[in-house]
């Protein structure tokens, strides 16, 4: 190592302005998870400006450099340097996500691989370190297809939480999967059709809800299920969720909307598809609990959060839904509301995947104003005080499973901690394993066994736990818990309703 020539000869580092404030520090991702501006490949035919508007275009501010004399990231004063000394690499063709710094932050410790529930049961799956930074680098050459194994990633996003260097792994997975589906997957294949159907649960649920009882029956009718497995590859072992006879939104309308008006305490409820069509009791619990705490609840028009679409690489569908969601949620935020989701995947999507993948006006604001329902109350209300002295009428033990997506938001222990000291409640954490269903993943015939194998540890721990009622924030984790153990599964909001709403 020799002294850098541009430092001056005297070695006095205090000369000039302190550079530290602007200069990227080595080894620390400048554009890692939290700072990453991102632009998803737009819909075909859409002008580039439409997505790049307001954001930076790829090449103007930060010239890509490779082997530059000063720092690999260009740095703030790269304009002073001789451009001839650089070997520019065009890493951003067509508005691609610039994940280079994220990829460079990976030092291959393999923490992500050891946290991957799929790699644990499937030796054919090369793991997040390959799917993320390594594949990203391979793709820079242009002539590399995305490895089809990307399809085996369940999008649990545990790798994000495991990475000590904040490499944006799930963002890389999402981008690669989107590209794979877009460019390499046969659009007429049954797999594509099946995945599209699964990803667009919002649409099927909407249809099914027109005749909920019939739908619940037909969807679980033996011969129909046999046909679905044969034709679409939807495993017949799984029971389709029941459709509610009254959706959450129907209930909301029937009760005349908000019962509390309070311009100082407003929340916009993002119920997502599942609480609306399948478990409206979770949505009702949310409304009753928040009204108990004096909040005015708003229920803006909304579509799917995009979680199942990301997981199936259907980024265009996700973007279309995101546009509606952002537009309506921004309006609510403008009216003073924070956004509350009862599903941890919905909240994660709005908070993290939205700004990472899409450049829609207001999307950052939506991200910053979004919370999970219990989290919000823990921050803004004296929840412990409210629960102090409350009791659950009939004593009950719960086997609580923290969804992977809750883990990424730092919420994996909140239910246990909230209810630990409540009389009549015994809350037991069944450990940090993944349930294995990962939304639509376990709903695919070829993934079913894998999904159940991943879930095995959770099933065992649930059986070992005292309670025979399960608890989790995630609707598909709940499906898997019920499928594996036969337990009834509740959402923490329902327990909160039973304990604090008199």
């Amino acid at each position: 190592m020799t002294r850098d020539t541009d430092e001056g000869d005297d070695g006095d580092e205090s000369d000039g302005e302190p550079r530290g404030s602007e200069e990227p520090s080595p080894g620390v991702p400048q554009a890692g998870r939290d700072e990453q501006p991102s632009i998803f490949v737009p819909d075909d035919g859409e002008p580039k400006e439409a997505t790049g508007a307001g954001g930076r275009t790829a090449t103007d501010e930060r010239p890509a450099t490779d082997g530059g004399v000063k720092s690999a990231t260009g740095g703030s004063d790269s304009t002073e340097l001789d451009p001839d000394a650089y070997d520019p690499v065009d890493v951003f063709p067509g508005g691609d996500l610039d994940l280079r710094e994220g990829a460079d932050s990976c030092y291959k410790c393999t923490s992500c691989d050891t946290s991957c529930p799929v790699a644990e049961v499937d030796e054919e799956f090369p793991g997040p370190k390959f799917q993320g930074p390594e594949q990203w680098r391979l793709k820079r050459k242009g002539d590399h297809d995305i490895d089809p194994s990307i399809d085996s990633c369940s999008n649990c996003m545990r790798c994000d939480d495991a990475c000590p260097s904040s490499v944006p792994l799930s963002q890389m997975h999402n981008e690669a999967r989107g590209q794979f589906v877009e460019e390499q997957m046969e659009k007429l294949s049954l797999e594509y059709v099946r995945n599209r159907v699964l990803a667009n649960y919002h649409t099927s649920a909407q249809l099914a809800s027109v005749f909920p009882r019939t739908s619940s029956f037909v969807m679980n009718f033996g011969p129909v299920r046999w046909g679905m497995e044969k034709v679409l590859g939807i495993p017949k072992e799984r029971d389709f969720p029941e459709f509610a006879t009254e959706t959450f939104r129907e209930w909301w309308k029937a009760r005349g909307g908000a019962q509390v008006e309070n311009p100082d305490k407003r929340v916009a409820y993002f119920h997502g598809c599942y609480s609306n069509y399948n478990t409206p009791e979770v949505g009702k619990a949310m409304v009753r609990v928040y009204e108990q705490f004096g909040y005015e609840v708003m229920v803006p028009p909304q579509k799917c959060s995009g979680t199942p679409m990301f997981a199936n690489g259907m980024l265009k569908d996700a973007r279309r839904h995101a546009e509606t969601n952002v537009e309506n949620l921004i309006e609510a935020i403008g009216a003073g509301a924070d956004v509350i989701a009862s599903c941890t995947s919905c909240s994660l999507s709005l908070r993290q995947e939205y700004p990472e993948l899409f450049d829609i006006h207001g999307i950052e604001d939506v991200s910053e104003h979004t919370y999970e329902a219990l989290e919000y109350l823990r921050i803004h209300e004296d929840l412990d005080g409210a629960l102090d002295g409350s009791t659950l009428a009939t004593e009950q033990s719960f086997a609580y499973h923290a969804p992977c997506h809750a883990r990424n938001q730092g919420l994996s222990r909140q239910a246990v901690e909230t209810f630990r000291d409540v009389d009549g409640v015994n809350m037991e954490d069944v450990g940090d394993s993944c349930s294995g269903i990962s939304g639509t993943y376990g709903w695919k015939e070829e993934k079913y066994e894998k999904s159940m194998k991943i879930g095995e540890e959770m099933f065992e721990h649930m059986e070992d736990a005292e309670g025979d009622v399960g608890m989790t924030e995630c609707p598909t984790c709940a499906m898997q818990m019920e499928h594996g153990t036969g337990y009834e599964i509740k959402h923490p909001l329902q327990l909160l309703e039973e304990t604090v709403v008199a």
Partner: protein, 459 residues
């Protein structure tokens, strides 16, 4: 409204967990926040206290003027370190005065190890004595360590029973024959051979160790044979591979595997293999990805739960939110960009050093990232290191400098915040890599920081 507790511990590794439990046992209501999954999963699972006392002065005086890094002329010369030490405790007085062991005292190390022994129970060995154990490591060397997993027990280097080391062709980072050769060259008192076996051939070359561990945990069928049986069958033909000095063949009495013999059910996996092989079975601790580290993490987080400590992982502490009269009142936790205040009466900083990312560095200096505490360092970046890679590297001792209660000091030696206590890698003064003291420093400073934070919170 802030999320409040008596004591807030920032960090998720061994020091953070130790201080959280120490504070909880003093009656404090404790919360632990850590940015990412615990770095314990990258650790070998060995608990070192002090293996060596390295020299802090070169063998001959340094030349005049600034060091000349990277140039071959006039290199520094450093004497060999003292060690491997058999007794880590008696050697502490020979460490520099600024070493955390000297600051918090030898009893802190004893208390820290006692607490660790209690938390891990029969999963660990070594608590019966003050003396270091010698264990073979992943690199084929022998390392002095204070505590080691029960799974590694049969592999003690002081044991003279003939030993077979097993490797797998698909596990590219680990060569059993080279490993055995290095052990023999290190002069271990037993005959040793290495063998590569076929078991893992059923898996593809880049199969994760967690996959193999899971297959053994559940005794999955590998090409029609249960995994444990298949592994034993693969190893059996090599039980007579060891040749002693006289040229005679010994049947091995113990077999060492890379550390992937199960995750949840490791004991059962080892027992079945031992039974089938007619030899003791042990694991050799590996670098990351580390099953022994993951198992320790599970165990210690279960202990946190049992002690009533609240913990959350996934969001970083990014700064001080409010302070009055030289005390921090609340800190900011960044939740996907949105900052939420966390308040406490006392704080423990256990975010790690340069590797753990509790410290950050660039051309201008080294900083402590969460609270921006003072980090002592030479002004000239070229004095951060010396020529000899194995010399006394100043950067190795970078970190906050605490008083005897664990409170970080400012540049003038005054306590920076009356209610902040530091533990683990973020504390400077130790050269943990050369000393083999990382875990011990975490335990000793962790227990002091935790107890003192609890005392502070009570007032």
């Amino acid at each position: 409204m802030a999320i409040d507790s008596d004591v807030l511990v920032v960090g998720g590794g061994l020091a953070a967990i130790t201080s959280a439990i120490a504070a909880a046992r003093e009656g404090s209501d404790v919360r632990l926040v850590s940015h990412k999954s615990s770095t314990l999963r990258q650790a070998s699972g060995l608990i070192d206290a002090l293996g060596y006392v390295p020299a802090v002065e070169p063998a001959k005086p340094l030349r005049e003027g600034p060091p000349t890094a990277g140039r071959e002329l006039d290199r520094d010369e450093w004497p060999d370190p003292e060690g491997p030490l058999s007794d880590p405790f008696e050697a502490i007085e020979r460490l520099p005065e600024t070493h955390p062991y000297q600051i918090v005292g030898v009893d802190a190390l004893r208390d820290g190890l006692d607490l660790f022994d209690e938390l891990v129970g029969d999963a660990y060995r070594g608590g019966h004595t003050d003396r270091n154990a010698l264990l073979p490591t992943f690199g084929g060397s022998v390392k002095p360590t204070a505590r080691y997993p029960a799974a590694a027990e049969a592999g003690l280097a002081s044991d003279d029973r003939p030993t077979l080391i097993v490797g797998f062709r698909s596990l590219t980072e680990y060569d059993a024959r080279a490993f055995a050769g290095r052990l023999a060259a290190a002069g271990v008192p037993f005959d040793v051979a290495g063998a590569e076996v076929e078991f893992a051939e059923a898996f593809r070359a880049d199969t994760k160790v967690t996959r193999v561990a899971k297959a053994l945990d559940h005794d999955e069928e590998i090409d029609g044979t249960p995994a444990r049986e298949a592994l034993a069958k693969a190893v059996s033909p090599h039980l007579h591979d060891v040749v002693d000095e006289a040229g005679g063949v010994d049947r091995v009495e113990r077999v060492g595997f890379p550390a992937f013999l199960g995750d949840q059910h490791g004991e059962a996996v080892r027992a079945e293999l031992a039974d089938r092989l007619g030899a003791d079975v042990f694991e050799i601790p590996m670098g990351p990805p580390s099953l022994p580290g993951l198992r320790l993490e599970d165990r210690l987080y279960d202990a946190l739960d049992a002690e009533g400590v609240r913990f959350e992982t996934g969001n970083p502490v990014v700064g001080i939110e409010t302070e009055t009269d030289g005390r921090i009142e609340s800190v900011s936790v960044s939740k996907k960009g949105r900052e939420t205040p966390y308040g406490a009466d006392a704080f423990v900083l256990a975010t790690g050093g340069l590797v753990g990312k509790g410290l950050d560095s660039d051309r201008d200096g080294v900083r402590e990232r969460a609270f921006d505490l003072h980090v002592e360092q030479p002004a000239d970046r070229y004095e951060w290191f010396v020529d000899d890679a194995f010399g006394d590297q100043p950067y190795a001792r970078f970190g906050v400098r605490p008083d005897e209660r664990g409170r970080p000091l400012d540049a003038n030696g005054a306590v920076q915040y009356a209610n902040v206590f530091a533990a683990g890698g973020v504390v400077g003064g130790a050269d943990i890599a050369r000393e083999k003291s990382a875990s011990g420093v975490s335990l000793a400073t962790g227990i002091v920081a935790g107890r003192q934070a609890a005392t502070e919170a009570k007032q």
